[in-house]
Symmetry: D3
Subunit: 305 residues, 6 copies
């Protein structure tokens, strides 16, 4: 008892030691200021609510009928508007140098950005409808488009990506990456919100897929699990700092198929229209249209164990 | 202020534009009807509760003793019965053409299917006990079977797979895939509920493993992370639609070991009893029993950076 | 109605059948005893709270200011102390042979272990600050260290690993693995808490990375998605049981870079200081310092589809 | 330890003893049947949601604006419709003798009753607006009508009463009483849903007020805490059973004021228009219009303590 | 901003000033010690769960059927056992002088007391069944015994009282009063857990009823709202301290009816069998059996307003 | 089915009809504006948290020890500061005519008012310590001061009153009344936050007590259940509007005792120091110090039933 109490007393010393490190590190690993950073839990909830707007009846409320759909979706959009504009405010505020708090300019930006995203939902639905159809057409294991929407990690990830991409395109910091990492965490598919991806895109299985920031993907492209579309190397500037923002990732043209485990690297690498990249291929150069690239099958050594 | 209000007013226009797309797309991406679709959140909770029945004291309630175990498990099974039969009803209802609502026939089916699954739990426990032992025997990093049950993603995934497989075998739509994708999301191991998997199965680490719908796996098979057991190509019918339901995935016989990153493809591919498939091997043809298949080690180029 | 009731009655028979399997299997798959096992949900919450102490303002409460930070962190540490010492108690109690219940000795151990971990937080913060900087320096896609902390699965996993490693080093059973598997589940990065990892460590993308129990990694090492640092084979003892605890995994010296998909195996394998291991390389032998190892690029067969 | 376990084992005996009493008592104190009774928690939530429809911005969601009010209220009404018709179903089902389960007739009734109530909301708002004004006009302590709505137990109780009265008038069993008792529990004001109450009704303070089932109250009546409007005695039938449904409570005409602690009893008692009933008066006979009834002030004995 | 921050800084001074008062007052208004006091929220939840055991299907879970009732009630009793014995431990621990922590003796006491209460449930159900019947027989407004159980504050209060009385009879401190005050808070009926109350007890409406600690009430007694059965005066000891534990409250014999607002005071006051006490009567002396006591109706002054 | 759908369609018409009444009534019963009104649920939570600061270890967190008390209370005060200043902002904003939104002036006011309240907590604790002692000294049923704090509705109400009184004294609108009505709802004791109440105040049982806005109560006053300290009549101004703010309620001097059911009315009524007011007394005139006022006991008519 005695001893046990004395142990708990140690917490005061520990707390002091921890507090001593606040403000002393670089990077600081802390944000102890009146204007808070975005809240990940809130962003995740917003993403799920946006998915309900996109896929009503699959995500969220289960009793949607023609008589209530307008009310429900309207109420949901209004709620998303409030919460998303708050999170965007928290994302842009630290980058703004205006002294006021709260910063009216940042509120303006946040509300405009929110509307810009919401306005894109009808278009996103059209794109995602094509993605779902591509999934159904491309996987013999799929029994219905219901199954695609409910159970395909690719569709989940692409949906979140297309939402995050809109925010990224408009220059909202932090949020787009938090969103795509949320999807990455759930599906193992890592698409940077900066990537440009065309219509009717499909990924089968998907775990381990990486699609880098400056990737460009055309229409009707299909890729399998474990595919990397990545950077080959990074430029560094005169001071040895890596250069950010350059095109470092490949271009994949229309109707390309890339099988599992393939790795395609480099900002100048172009996979031509209709090409097929075989499994486990490691590519750092371009491939002409309508060609098939496979590893010359490595010799297998088969013998008694 | 003024402006800010006017911005929020935009939501009405956005809502109308979104609503305009409901019912106009194909696939529709919506289910706005009196009979709702299955609820993913509810299915996930059912899975966790089933895992508590299978592994009492590891999942769920923490104070199980001989005096209360019967009450607790009985109450839990009863609750699972109610909820699971509702979700199965929601899964089968859209496929049923009877006009009544609610559909008594579908209720009958849902309840029978639920009982059919629950009746299998004792057998599932026996199978999973062997799987846990296989994990302990196969991994020197494991300190105890407690650790296997608590912390091995393979055991989690195989447990959910074995439950989902029962439903799939009995023809329940949607639910089995939602269940295995739930496990896939948590572990990165993607096993289709249609696969047939024998006794004492073990997967180490597991991220990136894919086991396709028509795979057959024997007893005492052990595989490592990143292994794909997949389809080679799909048949298409006269109209260019892919044919669903054919055997497209390999057969893995008893006592096979498949090392990390190996890819085995094709419905006619058979890995014979006791064979060992080396890491990163890419196989589209069969391997005789008791053989070892490895890549002829690719020449490494070693030089100064 | 009638029939439906009779169906529900079946649950009694099912419950009896399930209960009949409790205590009859080996491994038992059950823990039905007065002293409960650790609670995974509670451990996950403790991990998130520890991350808030490490990264205040990023995780957890959003309104931290200089005026309240001491109170908030102090209160949080005190709460962590209570909960973590309970979970450690539950971890060590089953291994203790003392007959008392509750076991005072185990309480002592649990409290000491908890303090030992909390005392390490200032140091962990210093290490993690270097890891975050390494992430920023190593990825041109990163726009800020905020983004690294918020959205990089590597940082999440390394943070949890460094916490779990402390507990593992002190011999706490079960908990360290439950913690790293929690991170593995979220990020697809599987680092065993037994691994020894140096300063300024970074993993890009990360899905599929496996770092085994007896791995040793130096300072400023950077690895990419899909890299395995694993065991080559296991020793078995005279009775055919695998030997646990031996060094089975490679040593990676300072300043090594390992590209995506590479596999490095074996307890005697040493990747020398400053070496670069190319993508998809499969290595079971050592590499000298300051060398680059790449696959002799496999011949690609490029032809019309 | 030993002993402690044996104690817990006692619970099995206790459970059996408790179960033995199920079905053996009269009244049974149990409802163990496939069709459940109404759920009090759900009814309470419905009441709070109805109050939000009646007083938007005071109850429930805090960010109502002209742009979202229609969506929010529409969505709320739809949700109330689903839940309230379920609770009404559960209320009427046990009284229905049709053998089917679910009973379509009861569903019809429940839905019709729900619509009948919701249709009355505009009128209820008009009535309650007058009640709020009466409160403001009648209490010098009230600073605003906001305060009346937020903090006057009378308004809360009258609002719930007026809702419950509609259901009671239409013959819905159980629910109206559960609703008014919910308000009674919160405010100490006990108004039977069968009472008929006119316009601009106000109760000040209110604790201890009782208004019986067959009371009739006119317009602009004001009463104070502790007032009982009750029954004098009950008729019994030939078998000694009390007769239910007779008018047993007084009639209070327009513009009457009844001060605190007054008791007015009997079905034939009429308090005439404009009368004033003084505090603590005990009345079992009628009072003519425009009269004031006070106790001849009891002699006070004032002396040294 | 500046200013606003400085304001928040004030909280540190306030916290210090508040902390300065901890330990300096008498009574202290604080309990800052390793062994916590009982938790009111937990006790309230236990009460609700006990009511579910007593009234299955009215309180708590809504889908009780013959097939699951045993499991559900058994599981609930087991859970109540754990939680209630913890709260009793917290109640008795501060009164125990043994130095150990935890105190095994107090655990023994707590578990015995818990079992003692649970063992009484079958009997409590029999008593409460008679109370419910008394309610139905005594109130013409009641349409069914369902309504009595669901909506009569008297039944709620008497149920909680009968539970608390058992604990009080066995000498458990604090808990019984916390329980009856929980009911008092919900119903306005204040029954001290020390009172002795016979069979078939009924209270109509009930707000304002007070029944003191040493009251004795016989069988088939019926009382109305606002009735006080209280103490007349308190004995003080030589030091001027009030004497606790004496019989200070009246005895009410079988078949007595007490109408609303009556006040009966004094430990020697006996209301004889079958007596009727009229409304507003103020009694400090005994009343013979089978008599009716009413106020000589005070003269009413009726005049124009 | 058909019909059932058509029924649900009715909700659209109902929604329109309800919306039509928004903005058309007077009082409006609505607050549909960008600046929301205070949130009752939030205020209730703040009250409970303030009670934890006042009575640490009785309310709120159960594991307070000397080592953590400072952190816990500091963190709690900081959280109360944020939330309470928001609710005060919402209370004062509608009364402020400044056009900005948000209104910096109102934020200043809200923060100042919050600090003003928190600064008073040490003093409030001293006052409440005397109130608790008065309860213990005044009720022979009380076994300990723990019981007083845990289970006496008077202490709960007086605590909330003393908090609300501070806010009321400083002119905060709405909140004080919402707070005291929260306590009124739980205890049946209705104390207006405007009343002035001295030291060592006690109310026994308490249901039905009313203490009006302009009441003045001295030190060591003790009152019983059902006591009203109220207004006799209201002044009206030339336009027939009641005059607000006048002294309308009695003055109760030091050491007065008022027994149950007594009613004391009128702004000029003074109950002199040390006086005793007997049960059920109805007083509209002053009473000299050190006197006892009782009803000349009404003649009781005792006869056979």
């Amino acid at each position: 008892m005695r001893g046990r109490l004395r142990k708990r007393d140690e917490i005061r010393n520990i707390a002091r030691a921890v507090l001593d490190t606040y403000g002393k590190l670089d990077p600081k690993l802390q944000h102890i200021e009146p204007t808070p950073l975005p809240d990940k839990g809130s962003i995740f909830a917003i993403v799920e609510d946006l998915l309900e707007v996109v896929y009503p009846g699959y995500y969220g409320a289960k009793h949607l009928e023609p008589s209530n759909i307008e009310y429900h979706i309207g109420d949901l959009l209004d709620s998303i508007y409030s919460r998303l504009s708050q999170e965007i405010y928290r994302s842009v505020r630290p980058e703004c140098e205006r002294p006021d708090d709260p910063c009216n300019h940042c509120h303006e930006v946040a509300e405009d950005q929110t509307l810009a995203l919401l306005t894109r939902i009808p278009d996103l639905r059209r794109q995602l409808s094509e993605d779902v159809q591509a999934g159904y057409d491309g996987d013999p294991a799929a029994k219905s488009t219901d199954e695609i929407i409910f159970a395909y990690p690719a569709i989940y990830t692409i949906s979140v990506f297309r939402i995050a991409h809109e925010l990224n395109r408009n220059g909202v910091p932090l949020l787009p990456r938090i969103m795509t990492e949320y999807a990455h965490s759930k599906t193992g598919i890592d698409i940077h919100p900066g990537a440009k991806i065309g219509r009717a895109f499909f990924i089968d299985h998907g775990t381990g897929v990486v699609i880098g920031e400056t990737t460009i993907i055309g229409d009707r492209v299909k890729i399998y699990q474990g595919v990397t579309i990545g950077a080959l190397s990074f430029s560094k500037d005169a001071e040895g700092q890596i250069v950010r923002g350059e095109k470092r990732h490949p271009t994949i043209e229309n109707d390309v198929v890339i099988y599992s485990g393939a790795t395609i690297l480099g900002g100048d690498t172009v996979i031509g229209e209709g090409a097929v990249v075989g499994g486990n291929v490691w590519l750092t150069r371009s491939v002409p249209p309508h060609t098939r690239v496979v590893i010359s099958e490595p010799e297998l050594v088969i013998g008694r164990k």
